[in-house]
Symmetry: C2
Subunit: 346 residues, 2 copies
Amino acid sequence: MDMRNMAVTDAIAARRDLVNAAIGEDLPVTSPERLYKASRHLLDAGGKRLRPAMLLLVGEALVDVNPEQTDYREFPTLNGVTIDLMAAAVSIEVIQSFTLIHDDIMDDDDLRRGAPAVHRAYDLETAILAGDTLYSKAFEFMLETGAPADRSVRALSMLATTCTKICEGQALDVAFETRTDVLPEEYLEMAEQKTAVLYAAATAIPAILLGADDETVEALYGYGLDVGRAFQIQDDLLDLTVPSEKLGKQRGSDLVENKQTIITLHARQHGVDVDSLVTTDSVEGVSEAEIDAAVETLEASGSIDYARETAERLVADGKARIDVLPDNEAHDLLLDIADYLIDRGY
Amino acid sequence: MDMRNMAVTDAIAARRDLVNAAIGEDLPVTSPERLYKASRHLLDAGGKRLRPAMLLLVGEALVDVNPEQTDYREFPTLNGVTIDLMAAAVSIEVIQSFTLIHDDIMDDDDLRRGAPAVHRAYDLETAILAGDTLYSKAFEFMLETGAPADRSVRALSMLATTCTKICEGQALDVAFETRTDVLPEEYLEMAEQKTAVLYAAATAIPAILLGADDETVEALYGYGLDVGRAFQIQDDLLDLTVPSEKLGKQRGSDLVENKQTIITLHARQHGVDVDSLVTTDSVEGVSEAEIDAAVETLEASGSIDYARETAERLVADGKARIDVLPDNEAHDLLLDIADYLIDRGY
């Protein structure tokens, strides 16, 4: 890891620790205890807190504060008054956690972040209810920043439409499973709705709450959207290119499970018989040689390069958009985070 | 049915038809179609639209309008400007529908309003996602009334805390199933959280949006809470007192299924061996004679009277609270609805 990447991961980690402390404050385990324990289960299992860290960094970049002297609970806006920017950061992370809990039920996944999924650690009823509780709590938190009412309404409105889009994206993802004619562009649209909109909300909402002009809000929304889409593509790439032991799961498992990714969709469009790439149908049974051969085919069809170039283009676009921000350390970190998301090895 | 009850049901029905039309406008079946069809499934299966009708009636009572000359989409506030009060009514009904979809999954119920539950008509994944979509849509709708921002923030805040309370109430209900020492007061508290808070939100939110003073908002919240709790108790009473053919399901099915109600909790507290009241363990197998005997025991212990008196007291309390409203037809209807909820035979 080079020096710049280390600065990025350090910056994210420093904010992650503060976000974790704030989650403990804002979402205590109260009665009914089982419900709130289940609601905290995934949040307590770890995570980089990338979205809330980016939210805080946007705030720092906009208002040009020194993070070491900043209390995110009394964060200066562009108009003098202070708001609880941390409440907005927690809100975004809580939405993310709600979607993961319900996604794990829908995908019948047993593990998440190395811990049992909520519907395994507890039960289906509790997992549905824990997700539903986090959903409304996230709206409560976003209303508790103390921002002027008109800004709160705009932030809430963005949060609500973001959640609707995430649901629509998840529904598209499910619908794609039974289609063999999905285009790479359709996949990108789905990934945008399912994943990238929450990055966009995380980077645009602090600008709304702090009183930035419309042009800045829009630029930051676009930055989040581009970076979020690149992040999703990178996830698909990592599944093929990172050794299993580093990845924490079998390399190529997307291929084994016939998951459509931008890579397989590009390959199919270019004549590759994607369904025959990996014939072993269990992650436990597949050999490294079979994955190697599949990756070689996907390289030959230009599909891996296509994904890589698409991600790189998105990151370049996203970085250009935030030229509207003042020049400062937080701005530089937002640029570096965009690069880091497609440089990261795992 | 007497004349007053007929006026009440007519008034609710007239507003129900308008709410149904508004649901069609605000929640069209767009892409992804399967998701939006599933989201509309229960809403299209019927329902009295009691909560949105009460929301509209509170608006009419406060602003003293003639409903026949009123466009709920451009409803006069107490300060001259108009708002889309119907959007708030739809929001409340959509929240109700979301909770029913997820509740049916949690209770593994196959039928709702005579139609298959969403997770039966579609599948588990789609039902979870349809509920999640309605959740965020309800917040979107509540933000689209055009009310001044400070009122929208208050309304949103009430909607979010209401949803949190509904989840907490449902979690308590689940927890009670494995306890034999639940007190009637605890049951009432649970019923309040699970059911009554949405009535309270439906009657308080129009007051907030229309610019009523805090005293009025609080009185209307209390009215909704009292009436909602009475409604829940009446549901428990109906299960024991209405003939099966009129009820649309086996009379006494709560007893067969060992569901705790305020009636059984009172009886247990007064020495009745509730678990032995009905020994048949299937709704199909139970005889009317067995239910008759159980009801006789519950009458002898004063449990049925206790429930009836509690509901009557709540309705009287609720009615007294809305003395703050101007004298007009809508005010009278809100009083009559409170009575109707515990007079209704089914």
